[in-house]
């Protein structure tokens, strides 16, 4: 790992000031992606600004119509929260399936979503539930947030503060984990909310995406059969040593069916 200067601000304002004053800074959330990439020398920030001591970024609260989850809330906290289990059980289950228990004790929802790894789980929930992302500058709708591979609407010095998730009528997440890495080869989040049905797919393409055709079919009939014959085009999907684009396209349908069945 290359040298850097470690900073630990106590407030959001201080974090942003430190960011402004540094030449090539990075915010540190749970560090479960950033630190491994720094160890591989794929990332060499001049300053690492640790958000771990900023109290306002943490916590889970029930709110009107759903849940608000602070960006620095750890995966295990979401997985074991009685409020999350009561309001959006699918989200607790998704969190319980991220990485391994050791990673879940450190990794955060904000870090995962800001990084927007194409195979990460949380982006599927954020997009699938149509969450709103509140940052240090503004509120961003999930549909406008995910821009491409490791790309989001966040500006360099913009910090995610919290996520507002609406309570769905039904929701479930199903993933087909890579047998070795356990990252999602394909993960599908299905939700029926007051605003309609949403289907979000992670792992399959360069960035999490929705499947409007499946959403329309499920709006008519929320059953596994409704999506059974809908295939996403393989053209835009990932092909690698773990599976071809055609295989991933096939898995999207299978995982969507299972998610609808699990949502009940």
């Amino acid at each position: 790992m290359y040298s850097f200067t470690y900073r630990r601000p106590a407030s959001l304002a201080e974090a942003q000031k430190l960011f402004e004053g540094a030449s090539d800074p990075k915010f540190l959330a749970g560090g479960q992606t950033l630190l491994p990439t720094m160890k591989q020398r794929l990332n060499a920030p001049s300053d690492v600004i640790d958000l771990g001591k900023i109290a306002e970024l943490r916590g889970i609260a029930k709110s009107e119509g759903g849940l608000t989850i602070g960006a620095m809330t750890k995966h295990f906290e979401v997985a074991t929260s009685a409020d999350v289990k009561a309001v959006i059980p699918a989200l607790a289950e998704l969190a319980e399936g991220i990485g391994d228990p050791l990673v879940r004790h450190m990794g955060t929802i904000g870090g995962s979503v800001a990084n927007n790894d194409p195979a990460a789980d949380y982006p599927a929930a954020v997009l699938g539930l149509g969450a709103t992302i509140t940052t240090s500058k503004r509120a961003i709708k999930a549909d406008e947030f995910f821009k491409g591979m490791f790309e989001t609407a966040l500006e360099p010095n913009e910090i995610i503060k919290s996520f507002a998730f609406p309570k769905p009528e039904k929701a479930a997440y199903m993933k087909f984990p890579n047998p070795a890495s356990r990252y999602a080869m394909v993960g599908v989040f299905v939700a029926r909310t007051a605003g309609g049905v949403r289907v979000a797919v992670t792992g399959a393409g360069p960035c999490v995406f929705r499947v409007p055709e499946m959403e329309a079919a499920l709006a008519k009939s929320f059953t596994p059969d409704a999506v059974a014959s809908i295939k996403v085009p393989a053209g835009d999907l990932n092909s690698d040593l773990h599976g071809s684009a055609e295989y991933r396209a096939h898995l999207v349908t299978v995982m969507a069916k299972r998610a609808v069945a699990a949502a009940g």
Binding site: S3, Y6, Q32, P36, D100, P101, L102, V103, M106
Partner: protein
């Protein structure tokens, strides 16, 4: 350099460390507690697992500076008064190790699993060991040892 202090195995420690020092290197190179191992570069193997504020984490994927003010427990902190911790005893009894390289991490993870999960069946134990790799045992006796320590049936 950053000044850090924390409690490690019940003892208060402080040091000035280079900002990029990982917690595992602080534990091994500064505190000379070499029971905690480094088995990979990629945060995959779990040989480095210690408890920070009561939670099992990979100490190769945390900066020492992030643990400033925390309470840390390493494998050296488990045995009390010369008596092995029940999980250590179970690993010995059930032959849960061969070369022993993964064992400190396995045991620290196992203690954490048993603390978090009241009912442990074999499937749950195997799932919970997701972040710990052993290249010798084939896991079977590790699972058996953890089940025995948890008081569950293997």
């Amino acid at each position: 350099m950053t000044a850090i202090s924390m409690t490690v195995n019940g003892k208060a420690v402080s040091a000035d460390v280079e900002d990029r020092t990982l917690l595992v290197h602080f534990i091994r190179d500064h505190l000379h507690l070499t029971g905690t191992h480094v088995g990979c570069d990629t945060s995959q193997c779990g040989a480095c697992v210690v408890h920070v504020d009561g939670r099992a984490i990979k100490s190769c994927t945390m900066l020492a500076a992030q643990a400033d003010g925390a309470t840390v427990m390493t494998i050296e902190g488990l045995a009390k008064d010369g008596k092995l911790h029940p999980v250590q005893e179970a690993f010995r009894e059930h032959h849960g190790l061969q070369c022993g390289f993964c064992t400190p991490g396995m045991i620290m993870t196992a203690v954490d699993i048993i603390r978090r999960k009241p009912a442990l069946d074999e499937k749950t134990i195997r799932e919970e060991l997701e972040g710990n790799i052993c290249r010798c045992t084939g896991y079977h006796n590790i699972v058996k040892a953890i089940a025995a320590a948890a008081g569950a049936k293997a």
